[in-house]
Symmetry: C2
Subunit: 389 residues, 2 copies
């Protein structure tokens, strides 16, 4: 059954090489005081920073900067940004970077005018904003999170060792526009590219492996997975292949902009397991997901066998003739594993800096989701982390 | 190659049984003077009219009505509506009906404040609106056209025997919101249901059968087609199956809201052929498409063989082993034909009121599109219409 839902995604996307030219027209819609948000400074090396600054100047904007947003943006960094944005009386926030920068900017957008502590309000109580939300836009330079067209924002509290994502229901938290130029992603190292690819794939899995209903969303999810597997193999061999990289970029956007979750249950337990690893090791998000995925899926497979059989047949072209459902499902997961190894993904959390001594802390840092085929007990989580070592 | 494009689709969708309850909150955002637009009066029999009027009253709206919008809305009817909306100083247009009512309301939205003739401006010159566009919303009661989430509006000029669609680039022509309650579609006659299903399927085909690029959009299209074929077979046997009908409704929306056309060429020649039949016979839109489709696709198949092979394998699960590409492609079209017959679609234009004597007029009324695998000559069109008799 396609359950009741509402859908609204007003982000305007400018896609393709040279799309930055549309930034000027978009910025003209907002006030003079812009806060430019970016990460570790790679945009200064590849020329994107200069191009954006030039456009901001042409638009006569008064610009403040928040630099150094880290891969797992922290609450401390959010507090720091709030001060800058408040002092600058920000009319608009412009994120230039990947998912972390974009997530951070959304967290900032709901916090600038918030008179409560944002961690308490948005990440512990999961409240919606009750204050004015500062409008934001995004120039995307890395692919994977889908942050460019959704209202999600993950923040890490280092003190509490918690990495929590809040997907806001309020559409005003979504970027007003996002510039998606695939050529910006061509200079990424292979490690970052494949981590992003697995992040995309897992976003789709989290929404696909849930529910037993007959649902259009699952057919769209299969289409996205097939496209991603196809293009990732091309990009893995030829990172400069614009066609493959542009398809990966577009797939990422639709993998996590709420469409394929419409009317159905979703899981997100792999993200909870991975985020616990991320909170403790600061490892790259996509790799943390890759490292825990197969132990998790093999663990829940018996509880959602029908969907795993469908996954094997429709996504991995497994021929089911003369095989039991278990055999078909296992063959699908084996094909997925082979593809992950082909891409060079990190297949265990040891390589990411975790060890047996961290198991208790990892379990403690993992939120339990209830939408998947099996609600994990603490014991099961511990077992999955152990198998991921 | 995923070509450059922009994408923005801000329509808010309320999906599921009982979604009309959200109408009140949406109407509160607009002014007092509402023009209610509907068709032949079926909404008065099934209670939807009363429910909508009740909500309009609760909102304190001043309501004028445009009733009797016909299946192929005419330019005369548009002129009539313009007078009503102007006299009422319309702040908002509310379409309650199927694609024709919604299309008509969009044509009205761009015409109320237009000081030129809308046929000349929007349908012969394909200009964008330069005047204020009256905001509109939609309560959908029939499924197929996707009009509830796009900026397209087809109008028929009976005098000139032309049925022309304009997909506006201006997002303000899209409905601000659409209420999609699948239970509203359960009372439709079988003929209308299957005509709508084929309209959806053909929308996807028109976007799929074009270009030779490797494109995520085509993977999404395949997912939508697989979902539609699956659900249509259930609905065909059990029209009251909410699960199947809701999936069909959702597929219809995504089949024509610009997503699966992003970054690729599209065809639309079947729609041109079908609209010519519609302009001359006033036959149901989806049936006109069904009646000309197979002669058209069999005609262009050699020019886009690779895509037709992919269609056969990925949409119809044709096993290609030991077969030539032509055999695989033909087997795919044969499976499509069998499915169309299973649904009870009209497979020739004779049954729709066309005859051999109309061939010249049909060819004259057909626009030539240039995005498909073969740009049709007048001779080829004539041949396709003849084979469709």
């Amino acid at each position: 059954m396609l359950g009741n839902f509402s859908y609204c995604n007003p982000t305007k996307l400018y896609f393709g090489e040279g799309s930055l030219k549309y930034l000027k027209g978009e910025l003209a819609k907002y006030g003079k005081n812009v806060v430019l948000v970016y990460g570790g400074g790679s945009i200064k090396k590849n020329g994107i920073y200069d191009a954006v600054i030039e456009i901001l100047k042409e638009c006569g904007k008064d610009v403040a900067e928040i630099a150094g947003v880290m891969p797992n943006p922290t609450l401390e960094k959010l507090y720091e940004g709030m001060e800058i944005a408040r002092a600058h009386k920000a009319d608009f926030l412009l994120a230039v970077g990947g998912g972390s920068v974009c997530d951070y900017t959304k967290a900032l957008a709901v916090s600038v005018h918030c008179d409560e502590d944002p961690w308490e309000k948005y990440y512990l109580r999961f409240d919606e904003p009750t204050c004015e939300v500062v409008p934001l836009g995004c120039v995307l330079t890395m692919v994977g999170t889908g942050s460019e067209m959704n209202a999600g924002a993950v923040i890490t509290n280092r003190e509490q060792k918690l990495k929590i994502g809040h997907v806001f229901a309020d559409e005003s938290v979504m970027p007003r526009f996002s510039v998606l130029d695939p050529t910006y992603t061509l200079t990424l190292p292979h490690y970052q590219m494949v981590a992003g690819i697995y992040d995309i794939f897992n976003h789709i899995c989290e929404q696909y492996f849930s529910g037993t209903d007959d649902n259009t969303s699952d057919y769209l999810a299969e289409g996205l997975m097939r496209s991603l597997i196809h293009s990732s193999r091309i990009a893995n061999k030829d990172m400069q292949n614009y066609e493959a990289r542009s398809n990966i970029m577009w797939t990422a956007t639709w993998a996590l902009n709420t469409l394929i979750a419409c009317g159905k249950d979703t899981d997100w337990e792999v993200h909870m397991l991975g985020q616990a690893v991320g909170a403790l090791t600061d490892a790259t998000h996509g790799m943390t997901l890759a490292a825990v995925s197969l132990p998790y899926y093999r663990h829940i497979m018996p509880y959602g066998l029908e969907k795993f059989v469908r996954f094997a047949k429709n996504v991995w072209d497994v021929n089911g003739e003369g095989k039991t459902d278990e055999e078909i499902a296992n063959e699908g997961l084996a094909k997925m594993e082979a593809w992950m190894k082909e891409l060079g993904l990190v297949m265990n959390i040891t390589e990411l800096g975790a060890n047996e001594g961290m198991l208790d802390e990892l379990v403690k840092a993992t939120l339990v989701m209830e939408g998947g085929y099996k609600v994990l007990s603490k014991e099961e989580m511990r077992e999955i982390f152990r198998e991921s070592l």
